[in-house]
């Protein structure tokens, strides 16, 4: 009986989908003759890594919203985890899938403080290395309806994430003395600087700030600073500034409006990502993305798994939804991207259905349902 009902439901839903597709196509052809541009229909394939902690719950939220908005994206899910190695898909398989699809939506992977195998590289770093995801972009933007200490914050933090302190080169030369190597290369510094400036040009931004600590690490950070200065010469219409990282953190909390695009080495970027995310509402509301020349991985901006909330249905899906919005924008599905962003903004603005981190009482599912109801 149950089987029968399921089959009937399946048939019905397929009919509905087909009908929707048809109407969409007719609409497209009609408006073609009017002369406006329409986006072309067709499925986009996307790798999906739910991640650890509340990741799987947030991903379900995204999938529900996509289903409700009828977004033409097919997910290719892979469970990848360092703390759960037996269940994890092989890294190679996952990175092949991302390389093939060129887009990926990813939750946060938990990273233990110790290494069980003696290996120094974390899974996250291996994934980045294998795909050369060298640039991490976090767009820190105040959301409507989220009250914070600062209003109208809008800055972009661009972080080099394949070298620097994260090179995983540590050793104990003498007992009790550990050396950790921080690697800075001109090639990669220029590459990230160029990325930052190109990002600024593409998004009509006016200023790029290079954050460094070259007064202490004169050679390492000095090279990074020098590379940024060299690249800046090619962008005469964009203001270039430099700032020392300690001062930068202070400026960030006291007057974040002075920042536009920021470019940082690995560790400073990580710290500033989290600091700035805190300014606009916490880890649950900030989206980020990692770029390589060929592919892009969208993931929340501040990397927290929120494992204490697993199964409690309280996590905020806003960050993940914003990632999805950015993903849709990237693959030229701008109509859907705007639709979901509008719905999200409307829910946050109303302030009736908010998760705990934003001062509300609602659950993850209630928030997701509210977003779906606001889709137009």
């Amino acid at each position: 009986m149950a089987l029968l009902t399921r089959n009937i439901c399946k048939v019905f839903s397929q009919v509905i989908i087909k009908y929707n597709l048809q109407t969409a196509q007719i609409g497209a052809v009609r408006s073609l003759h009017v002369g406006t541009t329409v986006e072309q229909e067709g499925k986009v394939k996307c790798t999906l890594i739910p991640g650890d902690g509340v990741g799987p719950e947030l991903v379900v939220s995204v999938q529900n919203v996509f289903k409700a908005a009828n977004v033409p994206v097919d997910f290719e899910p892979y469970f990848l985890s360092e703390v759960n190695p037996t269940l994890s898909a092989p890294l190679e398989q996952v990175s092949n899938s991302i390389a093939r699809n060129r887009v990926c939506l990813k939750g946060i992977l938990a990273t233990p403080d110790h290494s069980s195998t003696g290996e120094l590289q974390t899974l996250n770093m291996k994934l980045r290395k294998s795909l050369d995801l060298y640039s991490n972009v976090v767009h820190v933007k105040s959301l409507p309806g989220v009250t914070c200490r600062h209003k109208n914050v809008d800055c972009v933090i661009i972080r080099e994430q394949t070298e620097g302190e994260y090179s995983a080169l540590e050793h104990e030369s003498v007992k009790g003395v550990v050396e950790c190597l921080k690697i800075v290369t001109a090639t990669k510094s220029q590459r990230i600087a160029k990325f930052a400036f190109d990002y600024a040009v593409k998004h009509n931004r006016k200023k790029v700030t290079c954050v460094h600590k070259a007064n202490i690490m004169k050679l390492g950070d000095g090279l990074f600073l020098k590379s940024c200065q060299e690249i800046a010469k090619m962008y005469p219409r964009i203001t270039f500034e430099t700032m020392i990282v300690d001062n930068c953190t202070m400026q960030m909390v006291s007057n974040p409006h002075q920042f536009d695009v920021m470019v940082l080495p690995n560790l400073y970027g990580n710290i500033l990502d989290n600091l700035a995310s805190g300014l606009v509402g916490g880890a649950g509301v900030v989206a980020g993305a990692s770029y390589s020349p060929e592919c892009v991985v969208f993931e929340p901006g501040a990397r927290h798994t929120y494992s204490e909330a697993v199964g409690k249905n309280v996590a905020n899906p806003t960050a993940m939804l914003l990632c999805a919005v950015k993903l849709l924008h990237h693959v030229n599905l701008k109509r859907y991207s705007e639709q979901i962003r509008d719905a999200l903004n409307r829910v946050l603005n109303d302030g009736k259905v908010l998760t705990k981190d934003l001062g509300g009482q609602s659950s993850t599912t209630e928030f997701t349902t509210a977003v779906i109801h606001c889709l137009r």
Partner: protein, 385 residues
């Protein structure tokens, strides 16, 4: 694609890391003769992130801006993973600020799509922007692949000629002066370095694309030294390619042969001015300025533009300009960037549209530019569904 690998093959192996100076501080003479470092630029990464390329767009004058809008429309409609960085150059400006910015922008992105740029200023210090762009970026070779469209009514059928043209020196050296009142001297510069580069490009192109013959077009019977050098070098390079036939022809004869029997030509290798003439002749044979697209290659940068460099100011804004040339340039660009799937789909749609008989007025049809673009988009849609 093949063209790109040819360039890769020809690229000098040693690169001096140095950011290049801006053009404005230099006169045209200095650009031509005192900047041996032009070829040696710092290998900075191209704007290619997350599978999307950024391309500089120079709309230029006349019909340029409207054609660029069609290109943008088609690429947006078809979800082409390319972002455009618009750079406007003010044709009335008496300085080179905009031009410098355009050049810097191409340096950053590596690839540009360009209409023909107008230079209205007659000040001596203001360069012809098109020439300055090519010189400053050292785009030493211009390739124009002329293939007839079966659907276009032209005097000759089945033409397939590749014109390889030296793009940075010769008569376009911009060295003119009035030594005595009433006597103007204009210098034509031919260097063995540039001649060899372009000749090697032509033969390498022939080898990789299965072409059989290269014809060097010159006027060495009159200009025995300058064109003589060009001819001599192409003969020398030809010796390295024994499988490819090499002959030479004088420019005036070439023009006559082109209009009477164009099928005898395969690849035409020539200097700057002759190249301009020959490409216009061939374009005229095939259906005019609105069809074909040309490519400018240097060691590091590439510019795509319509094949004949006409501004089309007379028909600007009337919705009758032929959008095919610019769209073909965009297709070449996509192929160069490696988006083969998108390139071939748009290419097929363009071919179908032309062969179906949807022509603008320059090809003897009645369609407006808008209608041509709409038909192309319709074909793309049916092909991709």
């Amino acid at each position: 694609m093949a063209a790109r690998s040819v360039i890769k093959y020809l690229r000098p192996k040693t690169v001096v890391p140095q950011i290049h100076r801006c053009a404005s501080a230099l006169s045209a003479f200095e650009i031509q003769h005192k900047t041996p470092t032009i070829k040696k630029v710092m290998p900075i990464p191209k704007a290619h992130y997350g599978g999307r390329h950024t391309v500089t767009l120079l709309p230029g004058a006349g019909i340029g801006p409207e054609l660029m809008n069609y290109v943008k429309e088609v690429s947006k409609y078809f979800r082409v993973p390319v972002d455009f960085e618009d750079v406007e150059i003010d044709p009335n400006a008496n300085d080179n600020v905009d031009l410098d910015y355009a050049i810097t922008s191409i340096r950053r992105n590596g690839v540009a799509l360009k209409g023909n740029i107008e230079t209205r200023s007659t000040e001596a210090g203001v360069l012809s922007r098109n020439v300055a762009l090519r010189n400053e970026l050292d785009l030493y070779v211009n390739v124009l692949h002329c293939v007839s469209y079966p659907g276009v009514n032209s005097r000759h059928k089945n033409i397939d000629i590749v014109i390889v043209r030296q793009n940075t020196e010769g008569e376009y050296a911009m060295l003119e002066h009035e030594s005595v009142k009433g006597v103007v001297e204009s210098m034509k510069v031919i260097t063995s370095v540039n001649s060899e580069r372009v000749a090697r490009y032509a033969f390498e192109y022939a080898k990789r694309n299965g072409r059989k013959k290269v014809t060097t077009v010159h006027k060495a019977n009159i200009m025995k030294l300058s064109d003589g050098l060009f001819l001599e070098i192409s003969r020398r390079v030809a010796k390295d390619y024994p499988d490819i036939t090499h002959n030479n022809m004088i420019i005036d004869n070439t023009c006559m042969q082109l209009v009477s029997n164009p099928h005898q030509f395969d690849i035409i290798l020539t200097t700057n001015l002759y190249g301009a003439i020959v490409s216009n002749v061939v374009c005229g044979l095939l259906g005019g300025a609105g069809l074909l697209a040309g490519k400018n290659f240097g060691d590091h940068y590439t510019i795509f533009e319509p094949g004949t460099r006409n501004t089309g100011t007379g028909i600007a804004g009337k919705n009758i300009a032929n959008p095919i040339a610019m769209l073909n340039a965009a297709v070449d660009m996509l192929r160069h960037l490696g988006h083969k799937h998108h390139a071939s789909l748009i290419q097929n749609a363009i071919n179908k549209t032309i062969n179906q008989g949807v022509h603008t007025r320059d090809l003897g049809g009645q369609a407006t530019s808008r209608e041509v673009v709409d038909t192309i988009m319709k074909h793309i849609k049916t092909a991709s569904d």
